[in-house]
Each structure stands twice: as structure tokens, then as C-alpha cells.
Symmetry: C2
Subunit: 255 residues, 2 copies
DNA sequence: TGACAGGCTTGATTTAGGTCATTGTTAAAA
DNA sequence: TTTTAACAATGACCTAAATCAAGCCTGTCA
């Protein structure tokens, strides 16, 4: 299947269409627009062509759950665009979003043969899909890839520990400030400007499930921060933060 | 330094004494009582002797913090006995215990050159210490070790996600039941008996900081479970669980 | 054009768990 | 043996956030 055929599914006018297609050997990966991100950045051209053999590009429409918690984990994913929410649920429906992940993120690190979490596209998501079996073969050949995966896991672990600190002890105000500040660092890296502009895709309900709060509390808290002049809200999901450092201080519980 | 010299520090009559000693080449690791656990199990005799060159055995007295959050991460650890609490803190002293770890656990997976968490011995702890530099060298030579570390990280990540679900949504009762059930599975594995007996080393304050509750709530909740006949408390930190499956149902929020 | 639905905000009220205070228990030090 | 201190349990009270209940946008479908 050709590369051009792949792009059809990306058209905004066909949001429901899912394209599943093989890649053109080494071509597809080596010209990949996100090659610098994610696990692929650990490989050179030759190695990448091997990886490409195992990869399939997929487009997922907004709202579609593409990993079911507890289902058989026969596939791994690497996100190339869009935002995905990862979550765990209790039998009665309570849901904890354990993370929002986007470009470059690798999904499916678990040792078990079952996924430990569910995954759902928030906006339109594109990703590379690998069969578990074939990826494991490629990993065996390239220790650098293995190292990369370990680092990925270690970084996620650090994020998870931060989130435990948030969920275990922070106030609603601190949680919302932490979330917003996290969005800023995700977007700007270490070079955070004054008047940082954010436009994230997740709803209040998503934020609530991520922060261990209710929608009402998230809404009230955001309104509170706005009244204090700490943030300004725009249309859609746009928020401007005049002084990110001020927000960080609140996020870390220092006031 | 001889192996026999090492044992001096383990005497209960000298709890404050810390022993830092080199290992006898391949001897020390190959006869290690916990070789089947932890990262060492990924290596054969020859590889292990290489690892041993980089290892130092250490004994830590109860209550001693041996990793400071944010300090320079120049050492890795592998626990050979005892229980360690890992935690993160907010500037005002609020503390979240992110995990209790014991025999076989590898400490220091972070990518950063700073520790992302603090670590403190709960009871007397023995561990193998590696310089970061030397361990990285050994890892480079043995891909199997790299794989082992990735799996270790992946498993921790799953545990962290479970804990996020707990902290984000569970009631006090469900949290305490989850903790107790977790202690049971840690101790018995998959083969859980009726009338499981537990005696864990952590205080109510530790449990509270782990579960995102206060000591009072932990105490009240344990008393509540006892009144209901779901657990029986003994002297010290002993608890008997007549029906672990009953506890599991509560832990997972199904009643 | 209206009406329906999904998402957001805000207000009134409730409650689970936190805070503060007291007492009991155990064990090590003196 | 008393003294001290750390840990644990329990009661009385308080509060942050949940719950319950409207109302308000905005986009889309008929």
C-alpha cells in the first residue's frame, strides 16, 4: 500500500475514517515527520528500515478508545500526532486518568501480556502500530532501542511519582495550578515565556479525572484563578498565563 | 575486605553501625543469598563477577534516610533485605510515600542526574551499592541486564498507575483494604491462603502517607474493619485476614 | 429557525475525611 | 521502678470538596 493512500485518512472531512496500512520499507520511517521524537530517534537509517518492516500507520478519530484495559497486549504504539488519554477504571465506573500523552510517546511498555490501562484518542490521533512479537525481535537486535525504552519508562515513572504527590496531598487549587503549569512545560520546554498561551484539547471532565477532582471543582477553581488574575480564559480551551512562575509557586504548595 | 567482616554490622547490638565494604570479586555475588531476586538473576556466573566488581554491600539502620530527594544521583542500589520507603515531599512538609520496596528491588532508575525521590530504611536494611558510572559500563556489556531493568521499570509503572487510581478515587476504607491486600500478595504471591497472617514494619503514619490519608483516619478505618470481623489485629504490627478475597472485593470498590 | 445535546459555570447543601484534643499502650532510658 | 517518648486509638468539631440542582452557552442537526 502506498504512502499517498495513507494521507487520505488524515483529511479533516473524513474524521471517522480509519486507515490501516503497511509502510514502504525504509522509506516511510526515514521520511517520518516525527522521526526526531520517540523511540525512533535512537536508530540510524539502516536500523530504522528494520523497524519500518514491523510498523503500520494508523489514524484514530476523536473519542475512540483503541486500547481496552485488561485486553490482550499484542500491539505496541508510537504516537506521531494528537493527544491520547490513558486511564484505569474501577468496576463501578470511577475513572482515573493516569496521563495525557502525545507526539513521540511509546505505548505498551508493560511486562504482562495484558494492557494495564485503557487508551482513548482525545483529538484526532495518528500513530505507528507494531506487533508485539515483531517489535521484540527488532529490540533484541538493537540494544540502543532497549536503552531508549528503559529511559522512556524511567521518565514516565518520575511523572507518575509527581502525580502521586499531587493526588495524595495537594489542594484543588494546587492541583489545577500543577496541571496548567505542566501544560506549559510540555509546550514550551525549559524556555517558558511570560504570557504563556495554552490551548489544550481535553475537557473539564478529563482534567477532573486526571486531578482526582469533580468537574464542578475544576470549573470553580479555574474561575477562582481567573478572578485572581492568575490566568485569562479565551474561547474554546484557551488559557493565557501572564506569570507562569507565579503559577508554579502555587502548584508546588508554597502559598 | 573479607566477607566475614561484613557481618559485623548486621549484629542487632550495633544498630547504628554502617558497614561499607568491597566484595570478593565473583565470590560475593555468586554466593549471594538473594541472587535469585532482582537484577542479578538476569546474569550468569561470569557476568555476575563483572557486576560484583562494581558492587559494595551496605547495612542501613532503621530510620536512616540514605537517599535525599534532589541530591546528585551518583549511586544505584539493590535491596537484599529489609524494607525501604520511597517518598516525595512538598516544601511545607507534606509527604507522599510512593512505595514500599524490599528484597530484590532496584533503586535509581531515573534518567536525570538527580534522585527524584527520597529513600529511608524502615527496619534494618541491607543493600548492594553500585556507582552509577560502573554500573552503566556493566549494563552496556550485558543487554540482558538492560532488558531486566526495563521490565523492572515497567512493573513499577503498573504499580504506580494502580496507586494513582487509589489516590484519585478510592474511599478511605477501600484504600486501607487495598494496602492490606497488597501486603498479602507481596508476601504470598498468587497462592493466598485463608487466614493470611501479616506483620509489616511500617507505622500508621507511613501507611497514612502512602494512602493519602491522616493517621487518625487510618486508625479509625482499621478499627472499623476489625469491628466488622474483616481483620484481627495482634501485638506489634500484626494483622490476620480471615478472608483475603473479601478484602480484595472491598479494595476494588465493589461494595 | 428551533430544538437538542454536550460541555461549562454557579449556587445550595451535604459529607467524608481532616484537625484538634485526650487518653491509652508499650518500650526504652534513667 | 519511675520517666519519658513514640505510637496508637477515639471523641468532638470543622472544612474542603463532593453532590445535587439549575441555568447558560455553542454547535449541529432537522
Amino acid at each position: 500500500m502506498s504512502v499517498s493512500a495513507l494521507t487520505a485518512g488524515n483529511s479533516p472531512s473524513h474524521p471517522k475514517r480509519i486507515v490501516i496500512a503497511g509502510m514502504d520499507g525504509c522509506q516511510a520511517c526515514s521520511v517520518c515527520e516525527v522521526r526526531a521524537h520517540g523511540i525512533c530517534s535512537a536508530l540510524n537509517d539502516e536500523e530504522l528500515s528494520q523497524l519500518a518492516q514491523a510498523a503500520v500507520r494508523v489514524t484514530i478519530p476523536p473519542g475512540r478508545q483503541f486500547i481496552e484495559e485488561g485486553s490482550f497486549a499484542d500491539e505496541f504504539f508510537n504516537i506521531t500526532s494528537g493527544t491520547v488519554k490513558l486511564f484505569k477504571s474501577l468496576p463501578d465506573g470511577r475513572r482515573q486518568i493516569t496521563g495525557f500523552v502525545s507526539i513521540g510517546h511509546f505505548l505498551g511498555l508493560a511486562v504482562s501480556d495484558r494492557y494495564a490501562f485503557g487508551a482513548e484518542a482525545i483529538d484526532q490521533v495518528r500513530l505507528c502500530r507494531f506487533s508485539r512479537e515483531r517489535l521484540e525481535t527488532v529490540i533484541d537486535e538493537f540494544p540502543r532501542l532497549e536503552r531508549r525504552l528503559r529511559n522512556e519508562a524511567a521518565n514516565e515513572l518520575v511523572a507518575a511519582q509527581d502525580q502521586m504527590l499531587l493526588l495524595g496531598g495537594k489542594t484543588a487549587r494546587e492541583r489545577v495550578a500543577s496541571f496548567l503549569y505542566g501544560q506549559i512545560t510540555d509546550l514550551y520546554g525549559d524556555d517558558i515565556p511570560q504570557n504563556a498561551k495554552l490551548h489544550f484539547p481535553m475537557t473539564r471532565a478529563d482534567i477532573a479525572d486526571f486531578l482526582g477532582l469533580t468537574v464542578e471543582t475544576v470549573s470553580r477553581t479555574i474561575s477562582g484563578l481567573r478572578r485572581e488574575g492568575l490566568i485569562a480564559t479565551g474561547a474554546g480551551h484557551e488559557i493565557t498565563v501572564p506569570s507562569p512562575s507565579r503559577l508554579q509557586i502555587i502548584a508546588s504548595g508554597e502559598e
